[in-house]
């Protein structure tokens, strides 16, 4: 019994020590050459930005780019609570406006892309969905984002402007959740972004619908005033709004800002 307790205590102390050690090594980033750029971006930007991040690291020696992808509202909340972030790219203007209102942004945000909705269905399209109106057919299991989330707000706008009443069985927290449910066949259809359909590849089929142009989400990006690497951050911003960034975004399905 005693030996076991001693061993347990040893393990706890060791892991605490390891945690402390790793924590401190992060903050004391050695010499002047080492810079870490922290970027918060909406989850729909995951693949594109990761790619751009690698390009940035390659062209800027001694710079490490770390990302945190998530729901834009979550990210704004964290920034408001003081998370150390250099760049923020939001999936809609509403959340960026929150950051601007709190004086967290250095200069005016710049729109760098836009996204429209598309209907996602499982590859075999079991409910035979081919238009927005088909979503309202009884018996179709439809999943959308909750109105409080950017893609959900867009879905609501589309619904209102087209006059089609859709009754989803679930209002998900994030676009990825909607996509998962469609991919697994749980849902017959889901309203997601064009970029999500693109990135899901073979796992879903996309059904475009004309009414989608009624709700276009603009994606703004900005350097945060609390950033300690303002110049470097601006350079990343320039990469995103420049040719390289725009090509990458277009390839992923984003439309021009």
């Amino acid at each position: 019994m005693k030996r076991g307790a001693g061993a347990m205590a040893g393990v706890v102390l060791l892991s605490a020590g390891a945690a402390c050690a790793s924590g401190s090594s992060d903050s004391s980033s050695g010499g002047s050459e080492e810079t870490t750029l922290t970027i918060y971006a909406g989850s729909s930007l995951t693949s594109t930005f990761t790619e751009l991040g690698k390009k940035f690291e390659a062209s800027h020696e001694g710079v490490t780019v770390t990302f945190s992808f998530g729901g834009s509202a979550d990210l704004v909340a964290q920034i408001q609570q003081g998370a150390p972030v250099d760049v923020f790219a939001s999936a809609d203007t509403a959340n960026m406006d929150k950051a601007v209102a709190d004086d967290l942004v250095e200069d005016d945000p710049v729109d760098f892309a836009s996204n429209t909705l598309q209907i996602a269905v499982p590859p075999d399209n079991p409910a035979g969905v081919s238009s927005l109106q088909d979503l309202a057919k009884p018996g179709t299991t439809l999943v959308v984002c909750a109105p409080e989330v950017p893609c959900g707000a867009a879905a609501q706008t589309v619904e209102e402007s087209s006059g089609v009443t859709i009754e989803p069985v679930s209002e998900e927290q994030a676009v990825t959740d909607v996509l998962t449910k469609v991919e697994s066949g749980q849902a017959d259809a889901g309203l997601v972004y064009v970029t999500d359909v693109r990135s899901a590849g073979d796992r879903v089929k996309g059904v475009a619908f004309p009414e989608s142009s009624e709700a276009v989400n603009s994606y703004p990006i900005a350097v945060l005033s609390a950033s300690e690497n303002g110049d470097m951050a601006q350079e990343f911003l320039d990469l995103v709004t420049g040719t390289e960034g725009q090509t990458a975004l277009a390839a992923a399905g984003f439309a021009k800002p």
Binding site: Q173, S184, G185, Q186
Partner: protein
């Protein structure tokens, strides 16, 4: 005060880490209370979505606790009293939901009960609709909460031993009668403790619910899901609802302990 037994075996320094531990749990709760916007607190918690979420949470948690008892008691009995090959393995598997991240649990449930899951076709044939229904919420909660009941009860059963059951048998009581009149009454405290734990776990369940059941007001959006959603738009509402959840949990635990202490 005079004549009270002194505490032996309780060295003074123990109070220090104990106090730190207590603070660690109490301070965050206090932080929530201080953040509450009391001016519109009542309006926030009585909104349609809040009330719907609370009632749904209470209904589903109560149902899943009942299911945990109905299936958990026999499981605990078998694990504590029977002996067969593979019993250790079964025990480990039954306790797995305790260590599994809830989202993983949700995914597993999806692949079992989902439309394209293991039992998907059977469920379809039976005419049942599980996906995106309140049933799914209850299933998710039962999945994560059952081990709590099984563990508490198995411990209680092992401690109480089988001497009274042996006596009851020699007095002419059949096994079912022994279970009903001797075993159950004697482990009732352990069972109650396990049920309270299960209820509390069900109440706070989030990951498995959102992955498996989805989120729709009044159907599947339990209080934790509602709080998470409100964080997107109205942090004040989120804080207010969090306080409600804390209060409900405190009341439940208080009732259970009070009932037993009496």
């Amino acid at each position: 005060m005079a004549g009270r037994p002194g505490s032996v075996g309780l060295p003074g320094w123990v109070f220090v880490p104990a106090a730190v531990g207590a603070l660690f749990v109490v301070l965050p709760l206090a932080a929530i209370v201080t953040r509450v916007e009391w001016s519109n607190f009542f309006g926030l918690i009585t909104s349609d979505s809040s009330v719907a979420a609370l009632l749904l949470s209470l209904r589903t948690s109560a149902t899943s606790t009942l299911l945990c008892v109905i299936f958990g008691v026999p499981m605990a009995m078998v694990l504590a009293r029977a002996s067969f090959r593979g019993q250790q393995l079964l025990r480990s598997l039954v306790l797995l939901p305790l260590v599994l991240p809830p989202v993983v649990g949700g995914i597993a449930l999806l692949y079992t009960f989902g439309r394209r899951g293991l039992l998907g076709e059977t469920i379809d044939v039976l005419g049942l609709q599980i996906a995106f229904s309140t049933t799914a919420v209850i299933l998710a909660q039962t999945f994560v909460a059952m081990p709590f009941l099984v563990v508490s009860l198995e411990g209680a059963l092992r401690t109480s031993g089988q001497r009274y059951e042996a006596v009851a048998a020699t007095l002419g009581a059949r096994p079912t009668t022994v279970f009903r009149r001797v075993t159950l009454p004697l482990v009732l405290p352990g069972l109650a403790a396990g049920a309270v734990l299960s209820f509390a776990r069900s109440l706070g369940e989030f990951g498995a619910t959102i992955t498996f059941a989805g989120s729709l007001q009044g159907v599947t959006r339990t209080l934790p899901l509602e709080i998470y959603l409100q964080r997107e738009v109205d942090p004040d509402a989120a804080v207010a609802l969090s306080l409600v959840l804390v209060l409900v949990a405190v009341v439940v635990i208080g009732l259970a302990r009070g009932g037993r202490g009496a």
